[in-house]
Amino acid sequence: MLKQITVTVNGAQHTAEVEPRLLLVHLIREVLNLTGTHIGCDTSSCGACTILLDGKSVKSCTMLAVQANGKSITTIEGMIQDGQLHPLQEGFKENHALHCGFCTPGMIMRASELLANNPNPTEEEIRWGISGNLCRCTGYNNIVKAIEYAGAKMRGEETASTEPQFV
């Protein structure tokens, strides 16, 4: 039995007939073809599927599409505005905060809510704040740096050097 839902994704409204059991991540990836949102696990552990749902970061593998009915979703594809990268996108690139890029969309979406709630987080707060998102490649140092960079930029402050620091 299919159910009709309407969701706003990155500002555009979509109506779809979906199976009640369809996961939100599959709606996004396979029905709406927004493949920037990734799947890295089957236990809500990795955060690769993180999106914003009415401004809150959620793991879209952990929700049904029907639960998103009437809600507004932002995915990584919606972060670029008027051709301008979001400060987090810029921060990730400038600080080499990604290797394979598979965790990156989820990390960025999670970090965007983190910064919305806490515009000037400490390193410790950032680390705990992204602890629901796994990255297997980068060792997290530069992800922390990227989020600090974006925070500074969003606060209108000078951003720190993005050159690698060595002992």
Partner: protein, 776 residues
Amino acid sequence: MGHSMKRKEDARFIQGKGHYVDDIKLPGMLYMDIVRSPYAYAKIKNIDSEAALKVPGVVAVVTGRDLEKYNLHWMPTLMSDTQMVLPTDTVMYQAQEVAAVIATSRYAARDGREAVKVEYEPMKPVMDPYKSLSPDAPVLRSDKPGKKDNHIWHWEVGDKDKTAQVFANADVVVKEQMYIPRIHVASIETCGCVADYDKVNNHLTMYMTTQAPHAIRTVIALVAGHVGLTEEKIRVISPDIGGGFGGKVPVYPGYVIAIAVSFLVGAPVKWIEDRSENLQADSFARDYHITAELAGTKEGKILATRFKVLADHGYTDAAANPSKFPTGMFSIATGSYDYGTAYMEADAVYTNKPPGGVAYRCSFRVTEAVHAIERITDRFALEIGKDPAELRMENFIKKEDFPWKSPTGWTYDSGDYVAGLQKAMDAIDYHGLRKEQAEKRAKGELMGIGISTFTEIVGAGPSKDFDILGIKMFDSAEIRVHPTGKAIARFGTKSQGQGHETTYAQIIAEELGIPAEHIQVEEGDTDTAPYGLGTYASRSTPTAGAAAAMAARKLRDKARKIAAYLLEVSEADLEWEPGKFSVKGAPEKSKTIQEIVFAAYTNHPQGMEAGFEATHYYDPPNLTFPSGAYICVVDIDKETGGIHVRRFVAIDDCGHIINPMIVQGQVHGGLTQGIAPAMYEELIYDEAGNILNGTLMDYLVPTAVESPRWETGHVVTPSPHHPIGAKGVGESPTVGAPPAIANAIVDALSPYGITHLDIPITPFKVWKALKDKGAI
């Protein structure tokens, strides 16, 4: 030192425009799901597909019996062992593939999977590799005619008798039994493929998560050539890969089944494993039981080492080592130290665990070797009461002794171990820490400092010794420069996040003077890229990176000829500086590389081939030997066993550095994959063969909280035999970090008589060790 150019590939990844295998959608594409065995060892009595076939959307259920008709039910492993694609009568490990369900959607395939009924007759599995060798153990590989036990191979290197003699006469002998546990790479993207067989043209396009697309094409041709899929009919495309670390080198049954099904039904078939399948069935890493011994003098001179390994390979030897090296590069286990005598032996056995023996961000078993030597060296220091830094300093191979011949037959290219350790000690204030530690010890507090000064062995490898399934381990680069002076370069390797699109462009830019921004790098399509063995074992920069430099140099030679022609001088009168040739003594008379390239298409000398392209297949003369000096400081809570990594300094020597930012990023990531097995990760099985932590809920991949803030630096001793002096770096930190952490923890606990703990060292292990020693 190179330039920290920002990565070219990032633009697509930060915008969600990466193109990974699960993003591929083809018209008419079917989805495959796999029925897996709940038992570690069982006879299959019956597979009933009837209910599954009635599930809406299910088009087929494929079993081993179906594949048997086409002789596709078995496949070779990279180590020339054999592996079932789908079983016809016996399952050999939990989560083994039993049948495949093909359907029109992902969900229907899963429904079908749930509806397949398999009747098993469980048998008692062999889970302990030592018991597997006992005479009364059942012979697991009864499919092999004449096989009478579970032993796979024996390997040894070094001088057994001389080593025994040194041990017999030594003042001090230390010995520890170590287990390097079974772990899993757990790249955040799992494995998968889309097999697209086109019946009309008898052509297969295989999109798959592979680190070695060319080798895979050859393997597919070897497996499926007999049904008409010969190598020119196969195109393997490795799209963006979400992390590999060695886990995407092997050919998994799922890939082969997808190809077989696409071939039989004539439609594209997608198979994407889920995380639990990935952890439970895909190749594991490590699983070495090591008896490590060291003989030395009371003063602290290392005289000899002896290592005995028992390798648990699971159901088949599906390791990914060069053919002649069943234990990979384990024989690097004499480490960074100058002594003349060593002996190593290893035996491999079958058990009822999943097959594998791949890397985990490590060059062919180097991590196991480094753990053994670095732990036993610390054990020796503890035994004679000598500072482990001082002991290492005194035993290091000296900078002037390179190239250095190791007692197990390697020729180390270059290094400066003293400088590395000194730099690490200065950065972390080693002596200050030792003072602090003494004060803390006096108060009964637990603080530990651990060192690891390791030598890696990467860049496989020279064709005289290195091959996989007979294919030599060269790698390749092809550069085409377009008339307007912009280039495309293609390689036999395949990035999984290492940043090849940037690094290779930088190498070519440095050699040819074309800006890196104007060099497009492409990998992963066997129809367009030159043949190569792929990316793993830190081999890309040592092999394909070298090939890039060599191909660029061929082009520079051609450019010189064209410049001489254009400037009407002899070649010898020309001088090269990056980007142009000018006439010696008359620098105003010059031609830029762009002008020269344009001439190669518009005005080339008569008798010369037009165009501006070069290909190079680089066969390295030797391996490269990156090294590192790592120091870790831990604080331990005596009451709970909780371990806090306070600081970690990593000084790496990967030779000439092309992009310091990328190198540092690799080191950060590798360090987190070093702390992972040191403190968190292990695949655990019970006696009945069940995996106890086969999901990401309980297999503990470190988050940003567990991962310390890494401090990194380097010393640089260029590789003398590599065209640009680079050595490779992706894996050094994963190799070097675990013993630094283990040594730090044992150092903290050593006042209570604790001399060794196996990794992963968890709070519980620490607490228990302290309890057992009566310390709490």
